[in-house]
Structures are given as structure tokens and as C-alpha cells.
């Protein structure tokens, strides 16, 4: 991952702080209002953070798509943690939300094969359902070729 300059890092940290406090991704306008920077300046810092794989921007809107492990949009991976519902980008990120928040939680999704509801509690940092399995189709070398698909 390329290095991130201190100004970009500060905006990255503010983005995550607002995401967690508000339970959703802040818009560039909201972050501009909070930080005192212009919206264009926020967009430019976000673009550099996107290029550094520190966040993922929506290709059409330029707004936050992923502040991993959190997703800015609805996904099949819902996580109850720290008193809120969150969306994760994938199964890995669903457990990552509990890890990042240092919180017990409950992951709800469906089996990608049969569509049955799957639930997994996380308590004291450990998953409660050892029978479930995770499959990663894309090799690590290609994850960032299309991170939304990955």
C-alpha cells in the first residue's frame, strides 16, 4: 500500500470517526463542513486515499463506497455491533466490523449457495458457529483489480 501523507491521513481518520459516530458514511459536503476544508479539497484527499487503497470511492458519485470493513451501501452482510446495524463489504469484513469496534456482535447473511439464513454470534472476540465456512474465490494478487467484486 502506498504511503499516505499526514493531511490525507487526518481526513481519513475524520471520515472513519464520522462513519462510526453516525452509523453511515459521511458525504464529502458533511466532511467539508466539519473539517473546514472545501468540498473539492476533501474530494482530492479522498481520491489520493482511494489510490492508496485506504478507502474506496464510488466510481460515479465520488463519494465513499467502502471505508473497510464498513460498507456505505446495503450488502448481504449485516452486522449488529456496538448498538447499531452495519453493512460489511463481505464475510471477512463482517467479522472485521466486530474486530474494529472491539465489540461483541451478530453477523447475519445468507448462504451464497442455498440462500438459507446464516447467523453467527461473536462473543469475546470468538465466533459462535464453527460449522460455517468462508470461501475466497479471487487470489490475493488480484483482490484490488476489482475490489468491489472481490
Amino acid at each position: 500500500m502506498p504511503s499516505v501523507d499526514p493531511g490525507d491521513l487526518a481526513i481519513r481518520n475524520l471520515t472513519y470517526e464520522q462513519f462510526v459516530r453516525g452509523g453511515r458514511a459521511p458525504t464529502s459536503g458533511e466532511l467539508a463542513a466539519t473539517s473546514g476544508a472545501s468540498r473539492n479539497a476533501i474530494r482530492a484527499r479522498w481520491q489520493r486515499l482511494h489510490d492508496a487503497h485506504a478507502i474506496v470511492l464510488d466510481a460515479s458519485s465520488g463519494e465513499i463506497r467502502m471505508a473497510s470493513p464498513f460498507s456505505a451501501v446495503a450488502t448481504p452482510y449485516r452486522v449488529r455491533a456496538s448498538g447499531r446495524w452495519w453493512y460489511a463489504n463481505c464475510a471477512w469484513d463482517a467479522f472485521g466490523i466486530c474486530a474494529a469496534l472491539d465489540s461483541d456482535g451478530r453477523i447475519e447473511t445468507t448462504c451464497a449457495d442455498c440462500g438459507d439464513q446464516l447467523r453467527c454470534k461473536v462473543s469475546d472476540g470468538r465466533p459462535g458457529d464453527d460449522d460455517l465456512v468462508f470461501h475466497c474465490l479471487i487470489p490475493a494478487a488480484a483482490w484490488w483489480d476489482d475490489i468491489v467484486f472481490t
Binding site: F95, A112, F134
Partner: protein, 69 residues
């Protein structure tokens, strides 16, 4: 990167495609802690490739599938 009820469901879902890697959820959870656990820390810095590769290696994910670019 999906969850499945069992390895049988993974095989059926693949439907003949080349498989990737399958992990139990305990390993996945450990991976999530290593990868994302510091994401909200005030002193967070981007992980280097070497740091991320070490997280994978420490969980026994050492084959080419898990080799970062």
C-alpha cells in the same frame, strides 16, 4: 468472499469453477482481527504489504493463493 453453510455448499456453488480458498470461521475471525483490528485506532497507519503478508503467514495462509502483489 462469502459465507457458506458447509464445504459441500461451496463445492455446489462453484459449479465446476476453479476453487479459491476455503477457511473455517475461526480462522476467518482471526484474519479479520489481524487485518481490521487497528482500523479505528487513533494512531492507525496503512499496513505495509509486508505487514499484511505476515498476518496471512501467521495464520498458515502461505500458499501462492495468499501471496499479495
Amino acid at each position: 468472499m462469502n459465507l457458506f453453510r458447509s464445504e459441500e455448499h461451496v463445492t455446489r456453488w462453484l459449479d465446476g469453477r476453479r476453487p479459491g480458498a476455503t477457511l473455517d470461521v475461526t480462522t476467518l475471525n482471526d484474519l479479520a482481527h489481524g487485518w481490521w483490528g487497528d482500523r479505528l485506532h487513533a494512531d492507525w497507519q496503512p499496513h505495509t504489504r509486508q505487514q499484511n503478508q505476515a498476518i496471512l503467514i501467521n495464520l498458515g495462509l502461505t500458499d501462492d493463493f495468499w501471496r499479495l502483489p
